[in-house]
Symmetry: C2
Subunit: 417 residues, 2 copies
């Protein structure tokens, strides 16, 4: 399969992009005389597909179900009891719907942690999105043996769907929901199996306080002490980290994910220390978090929130400029996941989106970067290509009506029982 994107706005001028198989083969005005598919991209700009680095995709089922509540009440009375009712068929419908929402708003790749990995992987695989998936590992009341058995079972379920675009990983929930012994085993298993590890870290101040009380050290120090910090770790949130902890994460090659909207909505009591983490050369990417703490999967919105929250919190309007926000949402994510994507460059994987330059938020075109980050939202995306496959054309995604119908049935089923 080959695709020719013709007369597209890129790097300040009009050019052609030729995609052969799953790669960007050529970028030039003369590229691609023949292609299986030609996209007329006049009036459109090409961007690297957005990489959503922290999702619980199927939580789309709970969008708007419980908002404006104190954190504990929200979790204990609303989210957890509902999640306990979710069956694999619900997860499948929820994930499929989330994938549709991601495609429609320009995300081409995501890192997910949720329950029922077989259902999650089935839906994701069908969507065509690139992904790194894992099952939640949770339960301080479980033995290491139980954790091992469950984790291996979940990994096998994911491996059924493993392919070029879908990679399994491990998802220990957090330091307060997974024991030291479990974390030690997960770490050695991840190295043995060459798997990425995706975990929440230092989201709230309470987590830090509890860690100091229970382990005599702050979260990142605790993880360092048990040998958990290495370059296959991706930590979501990373709000309450001090300089020493940032140094530990940086030295060991860990990756950090900023989730500004979720952090603000849940009022986690601090700001992702972007400048400090960058000073330790930590790769910082962006994630929306699940739909019950955001409440959408729009990475355009996330870029704006990230940039504005950093400017606001550091009292400096020059911090996290538009260009850097785009890098966080594209190349930084792809690099953190080990995919050769995230840039519009020859030889990179063809994960690309087109955005409508005629849409009002893109006019005038003083700066495409500024318009993308500060003015646009996901509705400006017209085309999505993942791994050389066209997933959306002129905002139409194959089978979308059916995805929505199944999703609505799942919601009805969950909330009527």
């Amino acid at each position: 399969m080959s695709i020719l994107i013709k007369d597209v706005y890129f790097d300040g001028k009009s050019t052609n992009i030729y995609i052969n198989d799953n790669n960007i083969a050529e970028i030039s005005e003369k590229a691609g005389n023949k292609a299986d598919k030609v996209i007329d991209a006049r009036g459109k700009a090409v961007l690297p597909g957005l990489v959503n680095m922290h999702t619980h995709a199927a939580m789309s089922l709970l969008r708007g179900y419980a908002d404006d509540l104190p954190l504990n009440q929200w979790l204990e009375e609303k989210i957890w009891p509902t999640e306990a009712k979710l069956k694999p068929k619900h997860i499948e419908s929820g994930t499929a719907f989330a994938c549709l929402e991601m495609i429609k708003s320009g995300t081409t790749c995501f890192l997910d942690m949720y329950w029922h990995p077989e259902a999650n992987a089935k839906a994701t695989s069908k969507s065509g999105l690139r992904s790194v998936l894992n099952a939640v590992i949770i339960g301080t009341n479980k033995s290491v043996e139980d954790c091992r058995r469950e984790t291996k079972k979940n990994l096998s379920a994911l491996r059924e769907y493993e392919c070029e675009t879908l990679k399994p990983s491990l998802g220990p929930h957090a330091i307060y929901t997974v024991t030291k012994e479990q974390l030690e085993w997960i770490n050695s298993f991840s190295e043995e199996q060459n798997l990425l590890v995706h975990m929440h870290l230092s989201e709230t101040d309470q987590e830090v306080k509890d860690c100091v009380k229970d382990h005599g050290s702050r979260p990142a120090e605790y993880l360092q002490n048990i040998g958990f910090l290495s370059d296959n770790k991706v930590f979501a949130h990373c709000v309450h980290l001090n300089k020493k902890e940032a140094g530990l994460l940086g030295k060991s090659g860990c990756k950090a994910v900023h989730c500004p909207t979720s952090n603000m909505k849940l009022a986690v009591g601090g700001t992702f220390p972007y400048s400090m983490l960058r000073s330790k050369e930590i790769t910082c990417s962006l994630g929306t978090d699940g739909c019950s703490s955001n409440n959408n999967l729009d990475m355009f919105e996330e870029m704006k929130f990230a940039s504005l929250l950093q400017k606001f919190s550091s009292n400096n309007p020059t911090v996290l400029p538009a260009r850097e926000a785009i890098q966080m949402a594209t190349s930084a994510g792809a690099e953190s996941l080990g995919f050769n994507a995230g840039r519009v460059e020859e030889g990179k994987l063809a994960d690309l989106i087109l955005v409508d330059l005629k849409e009002l938020s893109k006019i005038p075109l003083h700066s495409l970067d500024s318009n993308i980050v500060y003015s646009a939202n996901g509705s400006v995306v017209t085309h999505s290509i993942v791994n050389g496959e066209l997933l959306m054309e002129d905002r139409k995604v194959e089978g979308e009506e059916k995805t929505i119908e199944k999703f609505n049935k799942a919601v009805e089923d969950i909330f009527q029982t």
Copy 2:
């Protein structure tokens, strides 16, 4: 002219809304057998039109022109020199484009401050939006006599276009750009002419420091001392107010406008003290500010930023819940401007919008309020009605191509000279 909105989702069920002339005449399942225009609103919800309470509409010309800069450099090297080049024809095109953007994202009414009021009023009048407009009053180097002459001239220009939907007002820029004597005259003139006064107040810490240095008191105290505080005053930003100042504003019936996105982007060093202002019973509404400090006019986005910024800054996820954010963006704005609008109620002015419930951010429908504030953006609006006139139908606005064309020409003209 009568409009029947048929089978629309309102207050948890399907109903009809009958608009006669410029009013909401009836809301019931049986409403309106005959109407000049019938809108099939199945799968759509009705909301009060959004009221954008702080704009410099024509600054759409500068969207994305200068971002990520220190405040002074941004103003002195970029914004002010460019604004000095703007001619009435540019303002007219810029305002027309901004009105189009507002209609397309659900705003039905706005409060504006900018240059060349004749051009601003001409474009706004043509758009059909409801508005309260004023010309910037600025210049500490001018005599009161000059200020008086200019202000009266600008008011006459606005009065040429005054009608049911377009009201003139007065726009002294800020306490540091308008002298005490000018403010005193503006205040008495506003009372004499029964005009609303729209002013920036306590946006930055520097403004407070300078005020204390120059006048021996904080900004709201200074205004109180010169007799400026009364119920025809609408103050934008109101970030750096202390409890005593909030008390002064509350006692005198002044209105406050929160501009969260602009405040975050420009890093003004504080947060609109929402809870404190509400405790003084001050009407708090929402504004986007101009397109060079936001960079769009999407009031849906503004509601999300407002709610999340308050939660974040107060470290409390229950503050400014979705319902209140919607009220700030609708009824609070309409009340501040003295229009009998901002609610979907019989007898209110017919300023209404329809939003697409089938759009992904509106699914599932656990809570329409939550979905509107936390998940949607302006692209979900399908219809706009202002003063009983249909301004947008199925996202089409009459003459929009021409508006965009003229706008692009204006941008070219400004930036090529």
